[in-house]
Amino acid sequence: MRIVPFIISAALTTGLVAVLNTPLSVGKTKTPRLGYFLSPQQGFWQNAEPENKSFDANIVVDGLQDKVEVLMDERLVPHIYANNDNDAYYTQGFLHAKFRLWQMEFQTYVAAGRLSEIVGPDRIATDRFFRRLGMLEGAEATMKKMANNPALQAAVTSYANGVNAYIKSLQPSQIPFEYKLLDYKPEAWTPIKTYLFLMFMSYDLTGRGTTTDLQMTNSKNYFGYEDFNKLYTNVQDSLDPIIPKGTVYEKASVAALAPATLDSLYFAKTGSVAPNGPEAPNKNNGSNNWAIAGSKTKSGKPILASDPHLGLNLPSLWYEVQITTPTHSTYGASFPGSPAVIIGFNDSIAWGVTNAGRDVLDYYDIKFKDSTMGEYWFNGAWQKSVIKEEIIKVKGQADSIDRVAVTALGPVMYDKSYNANGSDGKYLAVRWTAQDGSSGLQTFYELNRAKNFDDYMSAINHWTCPGQNFAFASVSGDIAIKQQGAFVARWNRQGDFIMPGQDSSYLWQGMIPASENPMMKNPERGFVSSANQMSTDSTYPYYLGAANAFPLYRGIIINKKLNAMFGVTPQDVQALQTNNDNIFAEMARPALFKFLNETRLNAEEKKYVDYLRNWNLRNDVNEKGASVFKAIWDSLEVAVWSDEFKNASLPLQWPDESTLLEQMLKDSVILFEDNVTTSNVKETMFDAVTAAIKKAMPQLAQMEKDGTLAWGAYKDTRVNHLLKIPSLSRLHLPIGGGVHIINATSANHGPSWRMVVHLVNGIEAYGVYPGGQNGNPGSKYYDTFIDSWAAGKYYRLLFLSKEAAKQNSQMKWRLTFTNS
């Protein structure tokens, strides 16, 4: 034996194994364990799915009551045929896990404030945010409520058992790609994860207040309430509400009395706070839905359309599924992470949802005795708070421990240990309806089985958070819409700013009874619709929340178009859902020209103004005018607002587009049109428009030179992988649309599931989402639908009985599930 060479060689080999078995730091990121990752028998190569893979399988599991048969169509949509409901949900859980395991677990890590556990210390602040917000407590409260509902509890448990049956069957080499990349392993699924996921959806749809309430407070403090109220006005002249203007409402049964100290403690300038959480949920998290009555359709049967606008991600938030059991047969988009269908239809009815946008989250300014936060002053006495200790596991580091004080006004979000610059050392407790838990899943469970209008009403009346507009249509010919949720009965402006938290006068005084929520059935006009606009006009007896939470323009154009449509077919509805008409520009262009003095422009600038003048007002992929309009409008906002806003030390939200536009359309004095940085000149709107055009010019000229002036290239839509890795994302998609447009596709946000259901006997339905059924980036089914989605094409959804499915040539694979 050659000792020295042996030792050297052995050390080299060991060292090499160690290096190849360790994640290495490259810049801010870590590599995977390279040897493991490249190992063809264990690493990522195992996730390279053969193109001609057969999904046929006989799967033997524990915990089923009976045999389940699944037919998988050519788009990899499973059609589950089970002999009882629990077996169906078990199978749905198994299939969600088989195709989407990493995503469904990742989303619950985010929701539970456990992201640092898998990605490291960069995300500790995000984890603290979600834990302080009370995500886990909300999920636990939901779980407690479920105990009153054994059927639904069994469904969630069966679903979890199905997920776990898949995880158990998984060879280590077969775990999804992203686990290998980030180097961790799947853990067991539990019902609480389903509730955590639903909490995350609540956050995504109602959590903007965590940021905007602070920004609005800062704006109020900066401008003073009087100017604030003009800049962030609650008046929207052009509003076309969900429930038409002129509808008569009953008097409010719950009175919300404004506190006597309103002017001195609330509207006055108070302390400011800079937000410190993750990026706020997208303002455009919204949606369109509508239902057209038979009186306006060609067939005489209703047509329902729904397209939820959310962040566009891969793997997609949605997973198509058909669930057929002796109790019901339902098709639609489901959430990997939750049983049942979320937006879809059965053989009798169809439903779709849009976000209500109502304010259900408030901050209270708490006075603690000292920085230990053990006692706080409330209603004239020191009250004891509960301190909860959050232990955050951090990848590659020691645990991070967070102490959160919980008061009767909610858990404390901001305090001395969790704040940002300029927070004045305030303690802010956050009160949010989602913290109370919800039995919302019961709504979907019942909608999946609903036969008629009454079933729909009783299903949605369980719904608490996030408030939604539920559109409905039935084969029997009814259409309806209802805004449903647990909404706080508020006095005017209650909760728009941080509220004093030293006595009960600013607390929520009651919730609006479900029977008083805005609702409409079979209206004369022959359609119902919603697009996140304010649900009612100002005669509704409750305060809906600050108007800047409600997008204005999609609702206007949808109603305008629907009013003008007769003899409607599903194809017409598809065309409407993908329509790129820009109603905002239609209103804003004349306003711009009204304040334009063209003699002040040079030839180059006039050329672009001509693009704008000759534009067809459509945000189609190839329209240059759409880009010119957007660039000029954006720089007009800068010209008008930036001089006033730039001295604010804390983040403020700019006023809505509609605030500026509606002032330009009126012949009134325009707020802040004078540039305050010039002392001897009084600027007018004419100066602002000229300045805006001149300012936009270099950018426009550059884009024209680069060939990126066409709207599609300017907007540059992409569908990002959840980890934002470019090669796993789909970039530069050729699709029109945008903010304020029915086809609400912006850069990385938009229609996440488009569905059109024609309620004829047997149902004729179409759908598409920007993703694919298989979440594995190594599968050809990973992003299959994206090109069709971008092109505005739909798939005919196969909604078939088991017998018919077996005869159907589009069914490609068969999976059977049997008990061991």
Partner: protein, 118 residues
């Protein structure tokens, strides 16, 4: 001949232990050491046998997976790693990493048996 047999054994045993994905991916280091220990050859030849055996196995298996997958995943991974999106570079890298470990493992095994040439 011994060299050829060694290459084959390196590849075969690495493949066999690799089938058990509950064990660490580097288990073949042991088998390659054992192969070199029993098939006596010069350290250099042992190294190359290990390198070629495991390297060819890894590159070969990767190529098989990649062809069936029409380079779909490899092209994406070759942008993450970063190899300019080249699936060929990724296969070569895979073979090289496996080969290098196989080679050093075999070298270590060979040194246990080899006599000093002094």
């Amino acid at each position: 001949m011994k060299f050829i047999v060694a290459i084959f054994l390196h590849a075969f045993l690495a493949f066999a232990v690799g089938l058990y994905s509950q064990f660490p991916w580097w288990l073949f280091v042991g088998t390659s050491g054992i192969v070199a220990f029993f098939i006596m050859d010069s350290p250099a030849k042992s190294f190359f046998a290990g390198f070629l055996g495991v390297g060819a196995l890894w590159a070969g298996l990767a190529t098989g997976k990649d062809l069936a997958n029409a380079h779909l995943l490899s092209s994406k991974v070759a942008q993450i790693l970063p190899l300019g999106g080249s699936y060929i570079a990724l296969i070569i890298l895979t073979g090289f990493v496996g080969g290098l470990l196989g080679g050093f493992a075999a070298l270590t095994g060979a040194f246990i048996r080899s006599k000093s040439t002094k």
